[in-house]
Subunit: 291 residues, 3 copies
């Protein structure tokens, strides 16, 4: 709740928080249509999370189809979670088309650092498609920034974790990388960082139990795409709002858990909480500071 | 509830309604095995919805596999929601085989009108595989009938909506198209139309909140395939029964929603309601007229 | 609960049961990372079931990606439920690599017997990759053992069912096949059999309603892979523990069902029950005998 923020930010808290709520409202008002090239593991949850937040999903990963499909959308969400030769070509075709139309493009580099194909595909997309937003765990983002990584499957390496101790260093890292690739960078974990070259949101929403559900990261990437599409003038705030939303939904969903419930029910309750989120709840529940 | 129907139909309501319940019962008694070539977004819900209604699902979209698989099934559900070069070939192989065996074939032309590939693939299937049933939203069906369309992603264009005002015109349109392609046509939306060349069911079951869940249309297509397979002598009634079932399940599912529930829980409750549906509930809850 | 077991086994029940709980605990302690090449129908449930049991999932089916991915994992789960030309190549590449690294490999021959491609693919994997564990329904396993089969889609042929009447014969069959292919064989159905060449667990956990949910078998295969990875010295006990776990989760999940719930909610409750399972509950709830 801004506990670690500078005085200047704290003084502006009220306006800032209203900006988060305004980002949410813009999505609900404009129903952005998002083209998703995403993995088949979490794709259903991605679609329902997009609908829950007020967006509209369409999925297509066939090179012959994606040019047309991305053309009628407002944003493109590229997730390499189960990439293959065909879908990589589709990412290139759709990415190029979306770029030329000025659409918002988000990259979720799932597993970058865990295989050569994932690392090189993600790096190629960063260099050629030039996404507006990149969201991943710390190992994936470090892999993109440094060219190699130690991603443990699709989870971050424990040695990479963002902690209170290394927070200053990590904030510098993410701002520098954001400036270098001219994108909003979102690193999610126990502490989330959302930065462009100038500011970095440090976000402390969420629950550790969210890591026991597959796909909360994928859902967030899709939702963040919708938020950035609906708020093109302030993408870093929009992505931060989406990150706060997802974490807060995780908190609200957890508060509704009953005796005997587990990760499958928790999955439903988180999407339900996104569905029911309103601006006021988001403004009051967001736990963040700006650095 | 037949409020707008002609006198002749109203007089026959009781027998008619029992026909809907008989269609349901035939599925539960015969457990039709349905081969699905469908999208990876909603495929899990499609499988569970088929099981819930009393059918049995199998999925295969590899050209080398589908000839054998469709041969042991009773019906084929073709859904182009995430079509690709391979699955399009599989649709052709399976469609041809299923046609030659006299199996029921349903086409769900997801996104026809939204891309050239989707439009041409759907039209090719209509012309060569000659499906027994086509189910889509109004924009998709208009695209098939007219050759071009304005499908908004995978949702219907608002300008196309079936309303009380244009209902007479739409009933004529769907009957004519059904006669032209010699298939049962199901157009689903706020008002659903199910027609062959002679009769048109106008169905008013369902809830607007169903559009906030991905895949209720895909589920319906799979369930309608099972209903048509189990009721080969009266396919238009069988598909109408499936449409009433899905809408009624949406109503029952909604009635079980609790404080804090959202679209993810609603998704579960709809499939649960299909699972628990019996003939009596369907007969009494179906809201339709025949024109 | 060992009602049909020999006296010797009954006397050892307490130690045996603690072995099952120890297998569970080993998974929770070591968090085995499992590479899954699996079908897109049930993949999300497979991932959540793996997380629920204490494992960690990664999915990849692109031949260019799987060598690297399987290298960082502890086990490989191969499921041919929606096999295609690309994923079959991936199974070969990953299988060969996993074999050379001494990783645990499980094969789930979904639909073997229902198509030539499925039968030959499953047989080729058995012969070349030489899996440590094979889990399927009785028709699929008979197909592998005898070269032909009568699998009804993805369900077992009723004529094949394991019953109290043919149990002795089936126990011999599964032990012999296990010895022949030098693998743990798990046949699941109303009565489950888990055998190596020496012993056969006869397991009577579970609920018939589990067959009304898609994917409980796929989930079990993934969980059994994790169990075998975490318990490399006693794979047959580990796989038996996983089979007991899944059946018991089905029982616990069913006990939590409420008025109006159906197969979709049941799906969630089963995964929830896996998530909440502890060693004591498993040890006390497992219903098995050893032959």
């Amino acid at each position: 709740m801004g506990l670690f923020g500078k005085e200047k930010e704290n003084a502006a808290v009220s306006t800032e928080r209203k900006a988060l709520g305004a980002c949410l409202q813009a999505v609900r008002t404009t129903t952005p249509l998002i083209h998703n090239i995403t993995n088949y593991v979490t794709v259903n949850d991605v679609a329902n999370a997009l609908l829950a937040c007020g967006g509209s999903p369409i999925m297509s990963d066939e090179p012959m189809d994606v040019y047309d499909i991305t053309s009628i959308c407002g944003g493109l969400n590229i997730n390499i979670g189960t990439l293959n030769e065909r879908s990589i070509e589709a990412m290139t075709v759709a990415g190029s088309r979306a770029r030329s139309l000025g659409h918002v493009i988000l990259l979720d580099p799932v597993g970058a650092g865990a295989s050569t194909l994932r690392t090189t595909t993600a790096q190629t997309i960063v260099n050629t498609v030039r996404p507006d937003v990149i969201r991943g765990n710390i190992s994936e983002i470090k892999t993109l920034a440094k060219g190699t990584g130690t991603t443990k499957g699709v989870d971050a390496d424990a040695a990479d974790t963002v902690t209170e101790e290394n927070l200053d260093e990590m904030v510098s890292f993410v701002k520098n990388f954001a400036a270098k690739v001219n994108a909003v960078i979102a690193i999610t974990g126990a502490i989330d960082l959302v930065a462009d070259g100038n500011v970095c949101y440090v976000i402390r929403n969420g629950r550790p139990e969210m890591s026991k559900i597959t796909g909360t990261g994928c859902q967030l990437s899709a939702v963040a795409t919708a938020y950035a599409v609906a708020n093109p003038e302030n993408k870093v705030d929009a992505v931060a709002a989406a990150v706060c939303l997802m974490g807060l939904a995780g908190e609200i969903g957890w508060s509704r858990m009953q005796e005997g419930d587990g990760n499958s029910t928790y999955r439903n309750r988180i999407i339900d909480a996104i569905f029911n989120m309103d601006s006021k709840t988001l403004e009051e529940g967001a736990k963040y500071e700006i650095r």
